[in-house]
Protein backbone atom coordinates (compact mmCIF):
# COMPACT_ATOMS: atom_id res chain seq x y z
CA UNK A 1 0.00 0.00 0.00
CA UNK A 2 2.80 2.44 0.92
CA UNK A 3 4.51 1.70 -2.38
CA UNK A 4 1.29 2.38 -4.23
CA UNK A 5 0.85 5.70 -2.42
CA UNK A 6 4.37 6.78 -3.38
CA UNK A 7 3.81 5.69 -6.95
CA UNK A 8 0.53 7.65 -7.26
CA UNK A 9 2.14 10.77 -5.80
CA UNK A 10 5.04 10.40 -8.25
CA UNK A 11 2.75 10.04 -11.25
CA UNK A 12 0.42 12.88 -10.18
CA UNK A 13 3.36 15.24 -9.79
CA UNK A 14 4.55 14.16 -13.23
CA UNK A 15 7.85 12.75 -11.96
CA UNK A 16 9.90 9.78 -13.05
CA UNK A 17 9.49 6.69 -10.81
CA UNK A 18 11.33 6.85 -7.46
CA UNK A 19 11.78 10.63 -7.50
CA UNK A 20 10.13 10.86 -4.12
CA UNK A 21 10.23 8.46 -1.17
CA UNK A 22 8.61 8.04 2.22
CA UNK A 23 10.84 10.67 3.81
CA UNK A 24 10.18 13.38 1.24
CA UNK A 25 8.82 16.59 2.75
CA UNK A 26 6.22 18.48 0.70
CA UNK A 27 8.12 21.72 1.19
CA UNK A 28 11.19 20.19 -0.53
CA UNK A 29 9.34 19.78 -3.82
CA UNK A 30 8.78 22.97 -5.74
CA UNK A 31 5.99 21.57 -7.91
CA UNK A 32 4.07 20.23 -4.90
CA UNK A 33 1.82 23.17 -4.20
CA UNK A 34 -1.64 23.19 -2.62
CA UNK A 35 -3.26 22.51 -5.97
CA UNK A 36 -1.13 19.41 -6.53
CA UNK A 37 -1.87 18.34 -2.99
CA UNK A 38 -5.59 18.36 -3.83
CA UNK A 39 -5.00 16.32 -6.97
CA UNK A 40 -2.99 13.79 -4.98
CA UNK A 41 -5.80 13.51 -2.40
CA UNK A 42 -8.26 12.94 -5.22
CA UNK A 43 -6.13 10.30 -6.93
CA UNK A 44 -5.50 8.44 -3.66
CA UNK A 45 -9.22 8.30 -2.99
CA UNK A 46 -10.09 7.30 -6.54
CA UNK A 47 -7.39 4.68 -7.02
CA UNK A 48 -6.90 3.28 -3.52
CA UNK A 49 -10.09 4.27 -1.73
CA UNK A 50 -7.92 6.17 0.77
CA UNK A 51 -10.12 8.74 2.49
CA UNK A 52 -8.38 11.51 4.37
CA UNK A 53 -10.62 13.80 6.45
CA UNK A 54 -10.53 17.45 5.42
CA UNK A 55 -9.05 18.71 8.67
CA UNK A 56 -6.33 16.06 8.67
CA UNK A 57 -5.54 16.70 5.01
CA UNK A 58 -4.59 20.28 5.91
CA UNK A 59 -1.91 18.99 8.29
CA UNK A 60 -0.06 16.68 5.91
CA UNK A 61 3.57 17.76 5.52
CA UNK A 62 5.37 14.69 4.21
CA UNK A 63 4.82 11.51 2.21
CA UNK A 64 4.96 9.55 5.45
CA UNK A 65 1.98 11.53 6.78
CA UNK A 66 -0.20 9.87 4.15
CA UNK A 67 0.67 6.43 5.54
CA UNK A 68 -1.10 7.22 8.82
CA UNK A 69 -4.44 6.86 7.08
CA UNK A 70 -3.77 3.36 5.79
CA UNK A 71 -4.24 1.81 9.19
CA UNK A 72 -7.46 3.69 9.73
CA UNK A 73 -9.00 2.22 6.57
Amino acid sequence: MKEKIIQIINVTLGFKPNTINAATQISEIENWDSLMQLMILSELKQQLGLTIPIEAALEIESVEDFFKFIDKE
Binding site: T12, S34, L35, L38, M39, L41, S42, E43, K45, Q46, T51, I52, I54, A57, L58
Partner: protein, 545 residues
Protein backbone atom coordinates in the same frame (compact mmCIF):
# COMPACT_ATOMS: atom_id res chain seq x y z
CA UNK B 1 -4.00 26.85 -32.08
CA UNK B 2 -6.56 29.55 -31.42
CA UNK B 3 -6.19 31.56 -28.22
CA UNK B 4 -8.55 30.40 -25.52
CA UNK B 5 -9.66 31.41 -22.07
CA UNK B 6 -11.52 29.42 -19.42
CA UNK B 7 -13.69 31.47 -17.12
CA UNK B 8 -15.52 30.08 -14.14
CA UNK B 9 -17.09 30.79 -10.79
CA UNK B 10 -15.17 27.85 -9.28
CA UNK B 11 -11.47 26.98 -9.10
CA UNK B 12 -10.36 25.75 -12.52
CA UNK B 13 -6.60 26.10 -12.03
CA UNK B 14 -6.12 22.35 -12.35
CA UNK B 15 -8.03 22.21 -15.61
CA UNK B 16 -5.76 24.98 -16.92
CA UNK B 17 -2.66 23.07 -15.76
CA UNK B 18 -3.80 19.95 -17.58
CA UNK B 19 -4.03 21.66 -20.97
CA UNK B 20 -1.10 21.15 -23.33
CA UNK B 21 0.64 24.12 -24.97
CA UNK B 22 -0.57 26.68 -22.48
CA UNK B 23 1.05 29.62 -24.26
CA UNK B 24 -2.27 30.06 -26.08
CA UNK B 25 -4.37 29.72 -22.94
CA UNK B 26 -5.32 32.64 -20.70
CA UNK B 27 -3.98 31.89 -17.20
CA UNK B 28 -6.87 31.87 -14.70
CA UNK B 29 -7.09 34.96 -12.53
CA UNK B 30 -9.18 33.75 -9.63
CA UNK B 31 -12.77 32.82 -10.26
CA UNK B 32 -16.22 34.34 -10.16
CA UNK B 33 -14.97 37.39 -12.06
CA UNK B 34 -15.81 36.37 -15.61
CA UNK B 35 -18.03 39.31 -16.45
CA UNK B 36 -15.78 41.96 -14.98
CA UNK B 37 -12.82 40.54 -16.93
CA UNK B 38 -14.92 40.63 -20.08
CA UNK B 39 -16.33 44.11 -19.58
CA UNK B 40 -13.08 45.82 -18.58
CA UNK B 41 -11.40 46.86 -21.80
CA UNK B 42 -8.10 47.18 -19.95
CA UNK B 43 -8.24 43.74 -18.31
CA UNK B 44 -5.55 41.14 -18.95
CA UNK B 45 -8.23 39.11 -20.68
CA UNK B 46 -8.91 41.95 -23.11
CA UNK B 47 -5.17 42.29 -23.74
CA UNK B 48 -4.83 38.54 -24.25
CA UNK B 49 -7.69 38.79 -26.79
CA UNK B 50 -8.92 35.16 -26.90
CA UNK B 51 -10.85 33.89 -29.89
CA UNK B 52 -12.56 31.16 -27.84
CA UNK B 53 -13.91 31.39 -24.27
CA UNK B 54 -15.10 28.42 -22.23
CA UNK B 55 -17.50 29.04 -19.36
CA UNK B 56 -17.43 26.38 -16.67
CA UNK B 57 -20.38 27.54 -14.63
CA UNK B 58 -21.29 26.15 -11.23
CA UNK B 59 -25.02 26.83 -11.31
CA UNK B 60 -25.35 25.99 -7.61
CA UNK B 61 -23.02 28.87 -6.78
CA UNK B 62 -25.08 31.23 -8.94
CA UNK B 63 -28.28 30.24 -7.24
CA UNK B 64 -26.96 29.67 -3.72
CA UNK B 65 -29.11 32.45 -2.28
CA UNK B 66 -32.25 31.19 -3.97
CA UNK B 67 -34.60 29.06 -1.96
CA UNK B 68 -37.32 28.63 -4.52
CA UNK B 69 -37.54 28.05 -8.24
CA UNK B 70 -38.55 31.61 -9.17
CA UNK B 71 -35.55 33.13 -7.39
CA UNK B 72 -33.19 30.63 -8.94
CA UNK B 73 -34.63 31.17 -12.43
CA UNK B 74 -34.23 34.91 -11.98
CA UNK B 75 -30.53 34.45 -11.00
CA UNK B 76 -30.03 32.34 -14.12
CA UNK B 77 -31.80 34.94 -16.28
CA UNK B 78 -29.51 37.55 -14.86
CA UNK B 79 -26.43 35.47 -15.71
CA UNK B 80 -27.50 35.00 -19.32
CA UNK B 81 -28.40 38.70 -19.52
CA UNK B 82 -24.87 39.61 -18.42
CA UNK B 83 -23.40 37.08 -20.79
CA UNK B 84 -25.30 38.51 -23.74
CA UNK B 85 -24.18 42.03 -22.96
CA UNK B 86 -20.53 40.88 -22.77
CA UNK B 87 -20.51 38.95 -26.04
CA UNK B 88 -18.04 40.09 -28.67
CA UNK B 89 -18.73 39.38 -32.35
CA UNK B 90 -15.36 37.74 -33.05
CA UNK B 91 -15.30 35.26 -30.15
CA UNK B 92 -16.70 31.74 -30.01
CA UNK B 93 -18.20 30.77 -26.65
CA UNK B 94 -18.75 27.43 -24.97
CA UNK B 95 -21.00 27.22 -21.91
CA UNK B 96 -21.19 24.19 -19.60
CA UNK B 97 -24.54 22.45 -19.69
CA UNK B 98 -25.18 21.03 -16.24
CA UNK B 99 -25.22 21.33 -12.47
CA UNK B 100 -22.07 20.35 -10.60
CA UNK B 101 -23.10 19.94 -6.99
CA UNK B 102 -26.25 18.40 -5.65
CA UNK B 103 -27.05 19.73 -2.23
CA UNK B 104 -30.80 20.30 -2.43
CA UNK B 105 -33.08 17.94 -0.56
CA UNK B 106 -35.37 16.95 -3.35
CA UNK B 107 -38.33 15.86 -1.28
CA UNK B 108 -38.44 19.20 0.50
CA UNK B 109 -37.81 21.33 -2.54
CA UNK B 110 -40.01 19.49 -5.03
CA UNK B 111 -37.08 18.66 -7.25
CA UNK B 112 -35.89 22.26 -7.16
CA UNK B 113 -32.42 21.19 -8.06
CA UNK B 114 -33.53 19.24 -11.10
CA UNK B 115 -35.76 22.09 -12.29
CA UNK B 116 -32.93 24.62 -11.93
CA UNK B 117 -30.74 22.41 -14.13
CA UNK B 118 -33.53 22.15 -16.68
CA UNK B 119 -33.99 25.91 -16.72
CA UNK B 120 -30.26 26.45 -17.29
CA UNK B 121 -30.36 24.08 -20.26
CA UNK B 122 -33.44 25.83 -21.59
CA UNK B 123 -31.70 29.24 -21.51
CA UNK B 124 -28.53 27.80 -23.01
CA UNK B 125 -30.47 26.09 -25.81
CA UNK B 126 -32.22 29.37 -26.62
CA UNK B 127 -28.87 31.08 -26.90
CA UNK B 128 -27.26 28.42 -29.07
CA UNK B 129 -30.33 28.44 -31.33
CA UNK B 130 -30.10 32.14 -31.92
CA UNK B 131 -26.40 32.60 -32.52
CA UNK B 132 -23.67 30.59 -34.20
CA UNK B 133 -21.17 31.97 -31.69
CA UNK B 134 -22.37 30.07 -28.63
CA UNK B 135 -21.98 26.33 -28.19
CA UNK B 136 -22.96 23.89 -25.48
CA UNK B 137 -19.95 22.57 -23.57
CA UNK B 138 -21.07 19.01 -22.86
CA UNK B 139 -20.08 18.32 -19.24
CA UNK B 140 -23.14 16.17 -18.55
CA UNK B 141 -21.94 13.65 -21.13
CA UNK B 142 -18.65 13.30 -19.24
CA UNK B 143 -20.44 12.81 -15.93
CA UNK B 144 -22.69 10.14 -17.46
CA UNK B 145 -19.63 8.29 -18.72
CA UNK B 146 -17.84 7.90 -15.36
CA UNK B 147 -20.56 8.50 -12.78
CA UNK B 148 -20.98 11.41 -10.36
CA UNK B 149 -18.81 9.89 -7.61
CA UNK B 150 -15.84 9.68 -9.97
CA UNK B 151 -16.46 13.13 -11.38
CA UNK B 152 -17.20 15.26 -8.32
CA UNK B 153 -15.37 15.56 -5.02
CA UNK B 154 -16.81 17.04 -1.85
CA UNK B 155 -13.33 16.93 -0.34
CA UNK B 156 -11.77 19.08 -3.06
CA UNK B 157 -14.73 21.40 -2.99
CA UNK B 158 -14.34 22.17 0.69
CA UNK B 159 -10.55 22.21 0.57
CA UNK B 160 -10.08 24.27 -2.56
CA UNK B 161 -13.38 25.22 -4.23
CA UNK B 162 -12.75 22.63 -6.90
CA UNK B 163 -15.97 20.69 -7.48
CA UNK B 164 -14.25 18.02 -9.58
CA UNK B 165 -12.04 15.04 -8.85
CA UNK B 166 -8.66 14.79 -10.56
CA UNK B 167 -10.37 12.56 -13.11
CA UNK B 168 -13.15 15.11 -13.61
CA UNK B 169 -10.55 17.84 -14.24
CA UNK B 170 -8.78 15.63 -16.78
CA UNK B 171 -12.01 14.84 -18.62
CA UNK B 172 -12.94 18.53 -18.80
CA UNK B 173 -9.47 19.45 -20.07
CA UNK B 174 -9.70 16.73 -22.73
CA UNK B 175 -13.15 17.94 -23.72
CA UNK B 176 -11.87 21.50 -24.11
CA UNK B 177 -9.18 20.23 -26.48
CA UNK B 178 -11.75 18.17 -28.41
CA UNK B 179 -14.12 21.13 -28.80
CA UNK B 180 -11.23 23.32 -29.97
CA UNK B 181 -10.49 20.71 -32.63
CA UNK B 182 -14.14 20.63 -33.64
CA UNK B 183 -13.95 24.36 -34.38
CA UNK B 184 -11.44 23.75 -37.15
CA UNK B 185 -11.64 20.16 -38.32
CA UNK B 186 -13.65 18.92 -41.28
CA UNK B 187 -15.95 16.14 -40.07
CA UNK B 188 -16.20 12.82 -41.89
CA UNK B 189 -19.35 12.11 -43.84
CA UNK B 190 -19.74 8.39 -44.47
CA UNK B 191 -19.75 5.45 -42.04
CA UNK B 192 -19.03 2.28 -43.99
CA UNK B 193 -20.02 -0.82 -42.04
CA UNK B 194 -19.27 -4.50 -42.27
CA UNK B 195 -22.15 -6.83 -41.27
CA UNK B 196 -21.08 -10.14 -39.65
CA UNK B 197 -19.71 -9.63 -36.13
CA UNK B 198 -20.10 -5.89 -36.61
CA UNK B 199 -23.84 -5.15 -36.84
CA UNK B 200 -24.74 -8.57 -35.45
CA UNK B 201 -22.89 -11.44 -33.76
CA UNK B 202 -21.91 -14.46 -35.83
CA UNK B 203 -21.83 -15.15 -39.54
CA UNK B 204 -25.22 -15.11 -41.21
CA UNK B 205 -24.03 -17.31 -44.11
CA UNK B 206 -23.32 -20.10 -41.61
CA UNK B 207 -25.91 -19.56 -38.89
CA UNK B 208 -28.87 -18.31 -40.93
CA UNK B 209 -30.88 -15.20 -40.17
CA UNK B 210 -32.35 -16.67 -36.99
CA UNK B 211 -29.03 -18.01 -35.70
CA UNK B 212 -27.15 -14.73 -35.45
CA UNK B 213 -26.75 -12.82 -32.18
CA UNK B 214 -29.20 -9.93 -32.36
CA UNK B 215 -31.85 -9.64 -29.69
CA UNK B 216 -32.98 -7.58 -26.76
CA UNK B 217 -31.03 -9.43 -24.10
CA UNK B 218 -27.47 -10.65 -23.41
CA UNK B 219 -24.90 -10.42 -26.20
CA UNK B 220 -27.53 -9.91 -28.91
CA UNK B 221 -28.67 -6.76 -27.10
CA UNK B 222 -25.18 -5.26 -27.39
CA UNK B 223 -25.45 -5.41 -31.17
CA UNK B 224 -29.04 -4.17 -31.01
CA UNK B 225 -27.99 -1.18 -28.87
CA UNK B 226 -24.97 -0.49 -31.08
CA UNK B 227 -27.35 -0.30 -34.04
CA UNK B 228 -29.49 2.19 -32.13
CA UNK B 229 -26.44 4.45 -31.74
CA UNK B 230 -25.68 4.13 -35.46
CA UNK B 231 -29.29 4.97 -36.25
CA UNK B 232 -28.96 8.12 -34.12
CA UNK B 233 -25.81 9.02 -36.04
CA UNK B 234 -27.72 8.65 -39.27
CA UNK B 235 -30.43 10.93 -37.92
CA UNK B 236 -27.68 13.48 -37.27
CA UNK B 237 -26.56 13.48 -40.88
CA UNK B 238 -24.02 10.63 -41.01
CA UNK B 239 -24.35 8.73 -44.28
CA UNK B 240 -24.39 4.96 -43.80
CA UNK B 241 -23.12 2.40 -46.28
CA UNK B 242 -22.46 -1.34 -46.17
CA UNK B 243 -19.31 -3.04 -47.44
CA UNK B 244 -19.62 -6.73 -46.67
CA UNK B 245 -18.52 -10.07 -48.06
CA UNK B 246 -21.73 -12.03 -47.93
CA UNK B 247 -24.45 -13.59 -50.02
CA UNK B 248 -26.72 -10.68 -50.65
CA UNK B 249 -29.87 -12.69 -50.01
CA UNK B 250 -28.64 -13.90 -46.61
CA UNK B 251 -27.77 -10.36 -45.58
CA UNK B 252 -30.95 -8.78 -46.91
CA UNK B 253 -33.05 -11.41 -45.14
CA UNK B 254 -31.64 -10.09 -41.85
CA UNK B 255 -31.75 -6.42 -42.81
CA UNK B 256 -35.33 -6.61 -44.06
CA UNK B 257 -36.96 -9.12 -41.78
CA UNK B 258 -35.02 -9.73 -38.55
CA UNK B 259 -37.25 -8.55 -35.68
CA UNK B 260 -34.35 -7.00 -33.74
CA UNK B 261 -32.65 -5.27 -36.62
CA UNK B 262 -32.73 -1.50 -35.97
CA UNK B 263 -31.08 -0.41 -39.21
CA UNK B 264 -33.17 -1.23 -42.25
CA UNK B 265 -32.39 -1.07 -45.97
CA UNK B 266 -33.62 2.53 -46.34
CA UNK B 267 -31.18 3.71 -43.65
CA UNK B 268 -28.25 2.89 -45.90
CA UNK B 269 -27.45 5.24 -48.76
CA UNK B 270 -25.45 2.58 -50.62
CA UNK B 271 -24.94 -1.18 -50.28
CA UNK B 272 -22.09 -3.37 -51.47
CA UNK B 273 -22.85 -6.89 -50.30
CA UNK B 274 -20.96 -9.29 -52.57
CA UNK B 275 -17.73 -11.29 -52.87
CA UNK B 276 -15.62 -8.54 -54.44
CA UNK B 277 -12.68 -7.20 -52.48
CA UNK B 278 -13.65 -4.55 -49.97
CA UNK B 279 -11.21 -2.19 -51.68
CA UNK B 280 -13.12 -2.45 -54.97
CA UNK B 281 -16.37 -1.98 -53.12
CA UNK B 282 -14.98 1.07 -51.39
CA UNK B 283 -14.16 2.75 -54.69
CA UNK B 284 -17.60 1.96 -56.03
CA UNK B 285 -19.22 3.40 -52.91
CA UNK B 286 -17.24 6.63 -53.35
CA UNK B 287 -18.45 6.87 -56.94
CA UNK B 288 -22.05 6.14 -56.13
CA UNK B 289 -22.16 8.57 -53.24
CA UNK B 290 -20.13 11.14 -55.18
CA UNK B 291 -17.90 11.68 -52.15
CA UNK B 292 -14.15 11.37 -51.83
CA UNK B 293 -12.65 8.54 -49.81
CA UNK B 294 -11.16 10.93 -47.28
CA UNK B 295 -14.67 11.50 -45.95
CA UNK B 296 -15.06 7.77 -45.14
CA UNK B 297 -14.76 5.90 -41.83
CA UNK B 298 -14.65 2.11 -42.16
CA UNK B 299 -15.74 -0.29 -39.41
CA UNK B 300 -14.90 -3.97 -39.69
CA UNK B 301 -14.26 -6.63 -37.06
CA UNK B 302 -11.64 -8.41 -39.20
CA UNK B 303 -8.09 -7.09 -38.66
CA UNK B 304 -7.01 -8.28 -42.13
CA UNK B 305 -9.78 -6.35 -43.86
CA UNK B 306 -8.98 -3.25 -41.83
CA UNK B 307 -5.30 -3.55 -42.66
CA UNK B 308 -6.01 -3.96 -46.37
CA UNK B 309 -8.11 -0.80 -46.48
CA UNK B 310 -5.58 1.13 -44.37
CA UNK B 311 -2.79 0.15 -46.74
CA UNK B 312 -4.65 0.82 -49.98
CA UNK B 313 -6.54 3.92 -48.89
CA UNK B 314 -4.61 5.74 -46.18
CA UNK B 315 -7.11 8.60 -46.46
CA UNK B 316 -9.90 6.42 -45.01
CA UNK B 317 -10.16 6.36 -41.23
CA UNK B 318 -10.10 2.75 -40.05
CA UNK B 319 -10.38 2.55 -36.26
CA UNK B 320 -9.58 -0.66 -34.39
CA UNK B 321 -12.61 -2.73 -33.49
CA UNK B 322 -13.30 -3.86 -29.89
CA UNK B 323 -12.07 -7.37 -29.17
CA UNK B 324 -15.31 -8.28 -27.40
CA UNK B 325 -18.80 -6.89 -28.08
CA UNK B 326 -19.11 -5.74 -24.43
CA UNK B 327 -18.16 -2.16 -25.30
CA UNK B 328 -19.78 -2.02 -28.70
CA UNK B 329 -22.38 0.71 -27.98
CA UNK B 330 -19.73 2.90 -26.29
CA UNK B 331 -17.37 2.18 -29.18
CA UNK B 332 -19.87 3.55 -31.70
CA UNK B 333 -20.57 6.57 -29.49
CA UNK B 334 -16.84 7.32 -29.55
CA UNK B 335 -16.77 6.90 -33.31
CA UNK B 336 -19.38 9.60 -33.58
CA UNK B 337 -17.57 12.05 -31.35
CA UNK B 338 -14.16 11.32 -32.87
CA UNK B 339 -15.06 11.54 -36.53
CA UNK B 340 -18.51 12.94 -37.18
CA UNK B 341 -19.51 15.33 -34.46
CA UNK B 342 -20.10 18.88 -35.58
CA UNK B 343 -20.54 21.92 -33.45
CA UNK B 344 -23.67 22.92 -35.24
CA UNK B 345 -26.48 21.15 -37.04
CA UNK B 346 -28.33 22.74 -39.90
CA UNK B 347 -31.53 21.47 -41.50
CA UNK B 348 -29.47 20.50 -44.53
CA UNK B 349 -27.35 18.11 -42.43
CA UNK B 350 -30.34 16.22 -41.08
CA UNK B 351 -31.67 15.82 -44.58
CA UNK B 352 -28.42 14.59 -46.10
CA UNK B 353 -29.13 10.88 -45.95
CA UNK B 354 -32.36 11.41 -47.79
CA UNK B 355 -30.52 13.40 -50.39
CA UNK B 356 -27.81 10.81 -50.97
CA UNK B 357 -30.41 8.10 -51.08
CA UNK B 358 -32.19 10.11 -53.75
CA UNK B 359 -28.88 10.61 -55.55
CA UNK B 360 -28.66 6.84 -55.91
CA UNK B 361 -31.98 6.96 -57.70
CA UNK B 362 -30.67 9.81 -59.86
CA UNK B 363 -27.71 7.65 -60.94
CA UNK B 364 -30.06 4.83 -61.87
CA UNK B 365 -32.03 7.33 -63.90
CA UNK B 366 -28.96 8.86 -65.54
CA UNK B 367 -27.80 5.52 -66.90
CA UNK B 368 -30.73 5.43 -69.30
CA UNK B 369 -30.69 9.03 -70.49
CA UNK B 370 -28.39 11.55 -72.13
CA UNK B 371 -27.13 14.39 -69.99
CA UNK B 372 -29.49 17.14 -71.13
CA UNK B 373 -32.55 14.92 -70.95
CA UNK B 374 -31.38 13.70 -67.56
CA UNK B 375 -31.13 17.27 -66.30
CA UNK B 376 -34.49 18.22 -67.79
CA UNK B 377 -36.09 15.19 -66.27
CA UNK B 378 -34.72 16.06 -62.85
CA UNK B 379 -36.92 19.17 -62.87
CA UNK B 380 -34.34 21.21 -61.05
CA UNK B 381 -35.71 24.31 -59.37
CA UNK B 382 -33.52 27.11 -58.02
CA UNK B 383 -34.73 29.96 -55.85
CA UNK B 384 -32.94 32.85 -54.29
CA UNK B 385 -33.03 32.69 -50.51
CA UNK B 386 -33.17 35.79 -48.33
CA UNK B 387 -30.04 36.61 -46.37
CA UNK B 388 -31.04 36.64 -42.71
CA UNK B 389 -29.93 35.22 -39.36
CA UNK B 390 -31.09 31.72 -40.18
CA UNK B 391 -29.55 31.53 -43.66
CA UNK B 392 -26.40 33.20 -42.38
CA UNK B 393 -25.53 30.05 -40.44
CA UNK B 394 -25.67 28.05 -43.65
CA UNK B 395 -23.66 30.70 -45.53
CA UNK B 396 -20.91 30.47 -42.91
CA UNK B 397 -20.93 26.71 -43.23
CA UNK B 398 -20.68 26.88 -47.02
CA UNK B 399 -17.83 29.40 -46.89
CA UNK B 400 -15.92 27.47 -44.27
CA UNK B 401 -16.43 23.92 -45.49
CA UNK B 402 -16.62 24.03 -49.28
CA UNK B 403 -13.35 22.98 -50.85
CA UNK B 404 -14.02 21.87 -54.38
CA UNK B 405 -16.49 24.34 -55.85
CA UNK B 406 -14.94 27.34 -54.21
CA UNK B 407 -13.38 29.90 -56.53
CA UNK B 408 -11.43 31.90 -53.96
CA UNK B 409 -11.58 29.79 -50.74
CA UNK B 410 -11.99 32.85 -48.54
CA UNK B 411 -12.96 31.37 -45.17
CA UNK B 412 -15.06 34.20 -43.85
CA UNK B 413 -16.30 34.08 -40.28
CA UNK B 414 -19.05 35.91 -38.49
CA UNK B 415 -16.89 39.00 -38.02
CA UNK B 416 -16.12 39.18 -41.75
CA UNK B 417 -19.80 38.89 -42.57
CA UNK B 418 -20.53 41.85 -40.30
CA UNK B 419 -17.99 43.88 -42.30
CA UNK B 420 -19.53 42.66 -45.55
CA UNK B 421 -22.95 43.74 -44.34
CA UNK B 422 -21.63 47.15 -43.34
CA UNK B 423 -20.08 47.60 -46.77
CA UNK B 424 -23.41 46.68 -48.40
CA UNK B 425 -21.99 43.84 -50.46
CA UNK B 426 -24.55 41.90 -52.46
CA UNK B 427 -25.16 38.48 -50.95
CA UNK B 428 -26.86 35.89 -53.13
CA UNK B 429 -27.96 32.60 -51.61
CA UNK B 430 -29.61 29.86 -53.64
CA UNK B 431 -31.78 26.94 -52.67
CA UNK B 432 -32.11 23.96 -54.99
CA UNK B 433 -34.68 21.20 -55.31
CA UNK B 434 -35.51 18.60 -57.89
CA UNK B 435 -38.16 15.98 -58.28
CA UNK B 436 -36.49 13.76 -55.70
CA UNK B 437 -36.26 16.30 -52.94
CA UNK B 438 -35.03 19.56 -51.52
CA UNK B 439 -31.26 20.17 -51.21
CA UNK B 440 -31.59 23.28 -49.05
CA UNK B 441 -29.27 26.24 -49.54
CA UNK B 442 -26.50 24.99 -51.82
CA UNK B 443 -24.72 28.01 -53.24
CA UNK B 444 -23.62 31.51 -52.38
CA UNK B 445 -22.18 34.41 -54.34
CA UNK B 446 -20.72 37.46 -52.60
CA UNK B 447 -20.33 40.57 -54.73
CA UNK B 448 -18.02 43.30 -53.46
CA UNK B 449 -19.43 46.57 -54.78
CA UNK B 450 -17.05 48.86 -52.93
CA UNK B 451 -14.51 48.85 -55.75
CA UNK B 452 -14.41 50.55 -59.13
CA UNK B 453 -16.13 47.53 -60.69
CA UNK B 454 -18.27 44.98 -58.86
CA UNK B 455 -16.25 41.83 -58.15
CA UNK B 456 -17.29 38.24 -57.46
CA UNK B 457 -15.35 37.95 -54.23
CA UNK B 458 -16.64 34.47 -53.39
CA UNK B 459 -18.58 31.85 -55.29
CA UNK B 460 -19.18 28.56 -53.48
CA UNK B 461 -21.47 25.64 -54.21
CA UNK B 462 -22.06 22.41 -52.36
CA UNK B 463 -20.34 19.39 -53.90
CA UNK B 464 -23.67 17.54 -53.62
CA UNK B 465 -25.13 19.61 -56.45
CA UNK B 466 -22.12 19.84 -58.75
CA UNK B 467 -22.31 18.58 -62.30
CA UNK B 468 -25.84 19.78 -63.04
CA UNK B 469 -25.03 23.10 -64.78
CA UNK B 470 -26.61 24.96 -61.89
CA UNK B 471 -23.62 27.30 -61.79
CA UNK B 472 -24.60 28.62 -65.24
CA UNK B 473 -28.03 29.57 -63.96
CA UNK B 474 -26.62 31.16 -60.82
CA UNK B 475 -24.13 33.34 -62.69
CA UNK B 476 -26.85 34.36 -65.16
CA UNK B 477 -29.08 35.33 -62.27
CA UNK B 478 -26.37 37.40 -60.57
CA UNK B 479 -25.33 39.13 -63.79
CA UNK B 480 -28.94 40.04 -64.69
CA UNK B 481 -29.47 41.46 -61.22
CA UNK B 482 -26.32 43.57 -61.52
CA UNK B 483 -27.42 44.84 -64.94
CA UNK B 484 -30.73 45.92 -63.39
CA UNK B 485 -28.78 47.74 -60.70
CA UNK B 486 -26.95 49.72 -63.40
CA UNK B 487 -23.62 47.90 -63.51
CA UNK B 488 -22.14 47.18 -66.91
CA UNK B 489 -19.03 45.18 -66.09
CA UNK B 490 -18.17 42.50 -63.55
CA UNK B 491 -14.81 41.13 -62.43
CA UNK B 492 -14.07 37.71 -60.94
CA UNK B 493 -11.14 35.84 -59.46
CA UNK B 494 -9.88 32.29 -59.27
CA UNK B 495 -7.43 31.49 -56.50
CA UNK B 496 -6.05 27.96 -56.95
CA UNK B 497 -5.82 25.52 -54.02
CA UNK B 498 -5.08 21.80 -53.95
CA UNK B 499 -8.82 21.12 -53.71
CA UNK B 500 -10.56 23.53 -56.11
CA UNK B 501 -9.15 22.15 -59.36
CA UNK B 502 -12.69 21.19 -60.54
CA UNK B 503 -13.47 24.89 -61.06
CA UNK B 504 -10.13 26.12 -62.36
CA UNK B 505 -11.59 26.97 -65.75
CA UNK B 506 -15.10 27.85 -64.64
CA UNK B 507 -14.95 31.52 -65.56
CA UNK B 508 -13.41 30.69 -68.95
CA UNK B 509 -16.32 28.36 -69.63
CA UNK B 510 -18.78 31.04 -68.53
CA UNK B 511 -17.37 33.44 -71.16
CA UNK B 512 -15.24 35.65 -68.91
CA UNK B 513 -12.03 37.21 -70.28
CA UNK B 514 -8.72 36.77 -68.50
CA UNK B 515 -7.26 40.11 -67.44
CA UNK B 516 -4.21 38.80 -65.61
CA UNK B 517 -2.87 35.47 -64.56
CA UNK B 518 -0.26 34.31 -62.05
CA UNK B 519 0.28 31.14 -60.04
CA UNK B 520 -1.53 32.78 -57.11
CA UNK B 521 -4.53 34.28 -58.82
CA UNK B 522 -6.34 34.64 -62.15
CA UNK B 523 -8.45 37.76 -62.67
CA UNK B 524 -11.36 37.86 -65.10
CA UNK B 525 -13.79 40.42 -66.46
CA UNK B 526 -17.04 40.32 -68.39
CA UNK B 527 -19.08 42.95 -70.20
CA UNK B 528 -22.56 42.34 -68.83
CA UNK B 529 -24.28 43.47 -72.02
CA UNK B 530 -22.36 40.90 -74.05
CA UNK B 531 -23.00 37.83 -71.93
CA UNK B 532 -22.94 34.54 -73.84
CA UNK B 533 -25.99 32.30 -73.82
CA UNK B 534 -25.45 29.51 -71.32
CA UNK B 535 -27.09 26.14 -71.08
CA UNK B 536 -28.97 25.07 -67.97
CA UNK B 537 -32.08 23.15 -67.17
CA UNK B 538 -33.85 24.94 -64.41
CA UNK B 539 -37.57 24.84 -64.04
CA UNK B 540 -38.66 27.45 -61.56
CA UNK B 541 -42.38 26.99 -61.93
CA UNK B 542 -42.54 24.11 -59.52
CA UNK B 543 -44.96 24.64 -56.69
CA UNK B 544 -42.72 23.25 -53.99
CA UNK B 545 -39.97 25.80 -54.60
Amino acid sequence: MKKLAILSNVNIDMIYKLLPSRENVFPPQGYGNAFSLMLDTNSDLAKFSPSVIFFIVDISALTENSYNYEEAASAIDEWFGHFRSCMQPDIQYFISDTLFRTTAIEDIDEMLHYRIGQYWMHCLAQLTENTTQVHRFPVQRLIDRVGTSSFFSEQLWYLGKIPFTAQGCKLIAEQIILQMELLIRVPKKVLVLDLDNTLWGGIVGELGALGIQLSNDKVGALYHDAQKIIKQMQKHGVILAINSKNNINDALEVIRNHPHMVLREEDFSALRINWQTKADNMQELALELNLSLDSFVFIDDMPTEREAIRTLFPMIEVPDFPTTPDNLPVFFEDIYYRYFQKLRMTEEDADKTKQYHENGRRIQLSKKLDFNTFLQDLQIGITREAYNNSSKRRLLQLLQKTNQFNLTTRRYGEEDLSRIEQDNWLVYLFRAADKFGDYGIIAAVLIDITKHLPNIDSFVMSCRIMGKLIENYIIDYVECDLLKRGYYKLTAEYIPTSKNIPVHELYDSLGYHKISSSSEKVIYEIDLALRPKRIYHVNNNLERI
